[in-house]
Each structure stands twice: as structure tokens, then as C-alpha cells.
């Protein structure tokens, strides 16, 4: 079954059109990456799916159902998002408990305490962090909280906006391992935006390369590993990544 389907998606901010006829199909349980440089429109696609960039035309279908333009409650139980900056995505005056419990309160789900501890456990956060404020946590711990928040409503699809680019490499490894395990355990579908091809290679099954608001190429992860990308721009991106790696 198709988890997420985009058809001829044109997204604009004001008078500027950011993406041009973006079409994608992502299967249920798949981990899909959108790669490109800044300004390629990859984050905007994620925002449009989430409902944070409501100015679009075309079609977004989530689990077969067409999506409206705004943010709605039913959608929030299916699809959640993890942001790039763990320092900006947590409310500075709310404890971990309040941040995680909020989702349950909004949707009137009971058994709050048990659920909060369960999700904290599954993202590898010790119970002692439950009543801490964000400024008492490290970057990696904050990102775990952000992932936990996204999982509170047991969604099917996670939108990941450069979830590790603000983290140190050793912490990045922990978060990537965590994401991989969560996907396996909870049968999640990932749509990740990143510029880091090695991360794609570790975490994803397929990728789409974006440039100036258009999808240039959709490829399988094995093609990336073998260096078999067809478009010259994709190969260029790959070479830069490879030149970095020793």
C-alpha cells in the first residue's frame, strides 16, 4: 500500500514558487530520502505534507486519503514530524513530561503517565529526565525528546527534517541507530530530508534528488552505494560527498 503519494505538487511562498510538479510515491514501511542542497525545495515539500506550508496546488495523499491544506487532528495521528534543530524544537519553559503529555491531552487519551514513560523508554531516555527542562538536556537527549513527541500518537509516517545535522557525529550515530530500530519495531514509514548522502545510505531504501524545486532523479539505495546514479547533478553531489569521506 502507498503510504504517501504526491502528485504535481507546486508549493509557493507568497509570489515565489518553490517546487515545480513534484510527484512521488512512498510505500508503507519504506524509508525514503529527499536530498539536495539548500534552496532545492526539499524541506518545503516536507512542510507542505505536514501542513505548515499551506500554499500549494496538486495532490497529497496520505494512506490513500487526500490531504487538506491546513493542520488537522486526524492527520496528526497518522503523520508526525521531527525537526532539524533540537535546540529550537522544544518549548523552553516546558518539562519533558509536559512536552510529551501535550499530545495525549489534545487528543483526550488517558493513561498519560504510563504512556509517557513507555515512549521515553522506547527512545532510550532514562526516567530521571522526565521532569527536566530542555536547557538541562544535551543536544542528543533533546532530539530523543523530539522523536518521542512525534511518537506519542503512534503515527504511521514520520517526516524527518535533517534530524541529525545539528548533532555531533557520535551522537548522530546514536540517533540514526535509534531511528532505524524504531522503524523496525513500529513499522514506520520515513520521509527524510537531508544533504548528507552517507546518512541516506545508512538509513534509507530509496532516494530522490532535488534541484531548484524539481525532482531530478529517483534511485534505489543500491544504486547510490554502487555509485550508479544516472543524472549528472546527482553524480556531482555524490562526488562531493565521496571526496569528503576518507
Amino acid at each position: 500500500m502507498i503510504a504517501l503519494s504526491l502528485k504535481d505538487l507546486d508549493i509557493s511562498y507568497g509570489d515565489t514558487q518553490i517546487t515545480h510538479k513534484v510527484s512521488l510515491d512512498i510505500a508503507e514501511g519504506e524509508s525514503f530520502a529527499l536530498v539536495g542542497e539548500s534552496g532545492s525545495g526539499k524541506s518545503t515539500v516536507l512542510k507542505a505534507i505536514a501542513g505548515l506550508a499551506p500554499q500549494w496546488t496538486g495532490e497529497i495523499r496520505v494512506l490513500g486519503k487526500a490531504r487538506s491544506h491546513g493542520v488537522d487532528r486526524d492527520f496528526s495521528r497518522i503523520c508526525q514530524m521531527v525537526f532539524q534543530d533540537p535546540y529550537g524544537s522544544l518549548h523552553p519553559r516546558k518539562t519533558v513530561d509536559a512536552t510529551l503529555g501535550e499530545a495525549l491531552t489534545i487528543h483526550g487519551i488517558g493513561n498519560r503517565s504510563a504512556r509517557v514513560e513507555e515512549v521515553m523508554g522506547s527512545v532510550g531516555l532514562d526516567r530521571k529526565f522526565r521532569f527536566r527542562f530542555p536547557h538541562q538536556l544535551s543536544g542528543g537527549q533533546r532530539q530523543r525528546v523530539a522523536i518521542a513527541r512525534a511518537l506519542m500518537l503512534k503515527p504511521k509516517i514520520l517526516l524527518l527534517d535533517e534530524p541529525t545535522s545539528a548533532l555531533d557525529v557520535s551522537v548522530q550515530a546514536e540517533i540514526l541507530n535509534l531511528l532505524k530500530r524504531l522503524r523496525r519495531e513500529q513499522n514506520l514509514t520515513f520521509l527524510m530530508v537531508t544533504h548528507n548522502l552517507p546518512v541516506v545510505s545508512f538509513l534509507c531504501d530509496r532516494l530522490a534528488v532535488m534541484r531548484q524545486g524539481r525532482i531530478v532523479e529517483v534511485a534505489d539505495i543500491d544504486e547510490l552505494k554502487r555509485g550508479d546514479l544516472k543524472e549528472s547533478y546527482s553524480r556531482e553531489l555524490m562526488q562531493i560527498s565521496a571526496a569528503h569521506a576518507t
Partner: protein
Amino acid sequence: MAMLRDWLIDDSPASPMQARLGRLYRIFGALMHNPLAVIGAIIIICLILAALFAPWLATHDPLRQALAERLLPPSAAHWLGTDELGRDIWSRVVYGARITLVIVALVAVLAAPAGLVIGVISGYFGGWVDRILMGITDIFLSLPKLILALAFVAALGPGIENAIIAIAITSWPGYARVARAETLTFKNSEFIAAVRLLGASSLRVNLGHVLPLCTSSMIIRVTLDMAGIILTAAGLGFIGLGAQPPLPEWGAMISRGRSFILDQWWVATMPGFAIILVSLGFCFFGDGLRDVLDPKSGEQR
């Protein structure tokens, strides 16, 4: 005591209550390290104590006239002297603290929440809502405070209640501006986006997430404005549109003392000192609060 302290600064609180109290304790500790804030706090506490215990602190009935003892200089019997009707100035200043405190508290309770709500709504929704609300705010802001208050009191009739209403009406626009600016900076932050994605309604986002972030700057602003409010109230009292005689309001007292300023300086000076002292107290405390609470300083204590 040591146990309580350990419980408060515990890095892994066990309940929301402990987390909140721990945060307050840290803010309190930071405030105590700021000498000016401590001085300000002491002055404000003195004001509150004076207001609460006025009957015990006063040496005379503030309203009792004794024409035989009029315009006496400060002495053992009358610590700050007496006024033109023979009333004890010390007792009047002490009772005046009650009036000042009531004015300040009521204005804060009326104006700050109104400004906060208007500012947050205006900032969060933007568009025509913002334009209308900020247009009204701008009109109020463009008129001098005292003149506007004067106009209101003139329309409503003189008296302490009307003075309070007039001052409240003139001070909310400033708070609305602050709240709107704060809301604009938080509105597009990722943590607000995250709450919206959880399905929270606009009301919930605003009340539960945006508003709490604006309150600390609001508290700072209100504390710093207290001095201005006291001065405006005193100004209204001075020109006879605030508290009416024989109420011992400080501004009105200065006004009466003006006629004797050259020969009996204490009549006008003593309430004047009280005004200066209390205004300074609020300013110092407000500055200290700003250093501690300002969200831009990151709260890394």
C-alpha cells in the same frame, strides 16, 4: 534546610511541582545575587508591610485634624512634622502606602492581561486582525499618557477609582506592543510548529504555549512601569483629579504642601520622598528581574 535546597536544585526532579519550584528557586537565587534587585525587593516589601500594618505603624490618626499643631517641623511627637491642618505626616505617608499599593496592583491586574491578550492575538493571527488591533493601540500610544488619563478622569469625574481606570486604559497599549513583538518571534519557531502538528487548536497554542513565553517579559515590563504608574497617579492627585481629600494620597499631599514649600518644606517633601523611594524600588527590582528572566539571555543558570 540543606535537604530542601538539595531537593530544589535536584537535576532529576520527580514531579512537575518539584521541577517548577526548582526553576523558581534558581530564579530567586539569581535575583539574590543582584544587589540592586535586593534593594528594590526590600523597598517593595517595606511598602507592602507599611500598607498591611498601617494602623500599627502610624502614630496618629491620619485624618484627625488638630489646628493647634499645624505645620510643626519634624520632632519626637511628629516624626515627619504636621501639615496645614495639624495632621501627622508620618501617619499619612504610611496610610498613603495603602492607596499607592491599591493603585499599582489594580492597574497591573487590569492593564497587563488586557495588553497581553490583545498583543498575542494580534501577533499570532496577523493580517487584518493585527492591523485593526495595532491601529487602535497606535492611537492610544500616540497620546501622552498623563493628558489621556486627564481626559478620562475629566469625563468620568475625579476620584481614586476613576484615576485607576484612566491609568489602566492608558497603559495597556505598551503591553500589547511587547506581547505582539514576542509572539511574532515565537510564532514561527519549531516548537510552536510541533504543537500545531500534534493537532492543537489555535486557542490551545496561544494560551498554553505562546502566552507563557510572553509573561516573563510582561512581568518585567509591568514592574518597570510601576514607577510611571505611581507618578501618573501622583500627578493626577496633584492636580486634584485623583484621590480626593481627605484621603492621604501622596500626590495630593504634595499638592497641598506646595503652598508652604518655602517655609515648611517637610509638608511637600516627605510624601515626595516616599514616591521617589517606591518608584526607585520598582525600577531596581524590574531591572534585576530583566537580567534573570529575559528569555534572550537563555536561562543557562
